[in-house]
Symmetry: C2
Subunit: 230 residues, 2 copies
DNA sequence: TCATGTGAAGGAATTCACAGCG
DNA sequence: CGCTGTGAATTCCTTCACATGA
């Protein structure tokens, strides 16, 4: 009656990427965060050993999927036994590059930007919000989550000064492309975009987009489909 | 130098779904919102006719992809000419079920819940926030975005009273499953989940999950990969 | 002639099923 | 014996390339 169900909104990537010896499919990369989350939960519950079945169930994927995914990274389990929670978690942490510090700037301190600035669970360490930017005079100069909001016109300077490596765009569509251009021009190669537009960026820049309105529309499609089936 | 790039975080669905005469692949459904967005932008710019090339570019997909996607819905263009912006937009609007009203409840009025409640661009009509719920006594009773926050314990009653058809879960992981159970028990079949857990729901319930922390981790992976390539 | 619409081809991701190893 | 790890099979998605029709 209750099944894991496919529900994650991932898999936007296209090309595989290098890691250690081989390549990791984009779809696999997109699932590593769930595995890490599940492993941390297990560790918090005091579980030291787990199986592909248990871990998969908690991650919302099939056990075959989980094993296949892990096989792209290496070989971590013990046949006939399972996986050591701690060591697998730490390996995935390394694979995801979470042992190094990532310095974030958030551009657009509206409702969403505020929420993101105050968002506590930045994936349990690894990420630090070092700069906030906005275009509105009402917001510039105020302090949010312990950081003073600066004007977006100085985005290039801020990125250099704070050694920002990732930028979160939380502005409303219009203007997002211009900021993206400036940000890319300053050397940033990873962008998390909440604006509902397809950013045009060079090939070597990775953009992940989150579109709440689009997600709702997809749900609406299913609702309509369900209604039509009656 | 500037390419559309694959950047959308969609495609979580697994099974195809019925529509009109045939079936629409999940991947296609996930892209319909971009097409609609691009069409509305074009309409706002006064463009009445467009091509698969133009529309695809604005949506961040290839023109072949766009044409193939539209072919699952029917045949809307004129060979040798292109697509009528208005009529294609209205068809996709219908296909997505946006001509009917969708009544939302948001559970968890923290930073994110606040932002979502105040989120203006609910995909340009079609969605209406009719209820807000939280567990904290500090929040219950306050008004947010014109709606009074009620206690989450009454979620079943609220869903019935307000005829809620979709629920947004903006609570922090712990407790999300319990609320999901109650929500599903009240007949809701579409859930947008911001909690970083794999919700266990019946097969006929559609869950779309958005995990900001996970998105950042995926970006971190790419950053690490880039660094390793040097 | 030109851009759509679409079979066919190609590639990617998932599932299967079992070999392999503790 | 049990569970991992993985080739093989399958399914799904994307791209190609051209027939089609305004």
């Amino acid at each position: 009656m209750r099944t894991p169900a496919t529900q994650w909104s991932r898999g936007g990537e296209q090309h595989v990427v290098e890691l250690s010896d081989g390549t990791v499919p984009a779809a696999t990369v997109g699932r590593l965060p769930y595995y890490l989350r599940a492993l941390r939960d297990l560790a918090a519950e005091g579980v030291g050993l787990t199986s592909s079945t248990e871990l998969a169930e908690r991650s919302g994927v099939s056990s075959a999927q989980l094993r296949k995914d892990l096989s792209y990274l290496g070989s971590f389990g013990t046949r006939g036994v399972g996986y050591d929670v701690e060591s697998l978690a730490s390996y995935i942490t390394v694979a995801l590059g979470l042992e190094t510090e990532h310095r974030l700037a958030i551009v657009g301190i509206g409702n969403l930007g505020h929420a993101l600035a105050n968002y506590s669970g930045y994936a349990t360490r690894g990420f630090q919000v070092v700069a906030l930017l906005d275009a509105s005079p009402d917001v510039v100069g105020t302090r949010v989550a312990g950081v003073t909001v600066e004007h977006v016109r100085g985005v290039a300077d801020v990125i250099q000064r704070e050694r920002v490596s990732m930028v979160v765009l939380a502005l409303p569509g219009l203007g997002a492309q211009d900021v993206a251009d400036a940000v890319v021009g300053s050397g940033v190669r990873e962008i998390l975009n909440f604006a509902p537009i397809a950013l045009q960026v060079p090939d070597d820049v990775v953009v992940r987009s989150v579109d709440v309105g689009g997600e709702l529309q997809i749900l609406a499609f299913h609702a309509a489909t369900r209604a039509a089936a009656l």
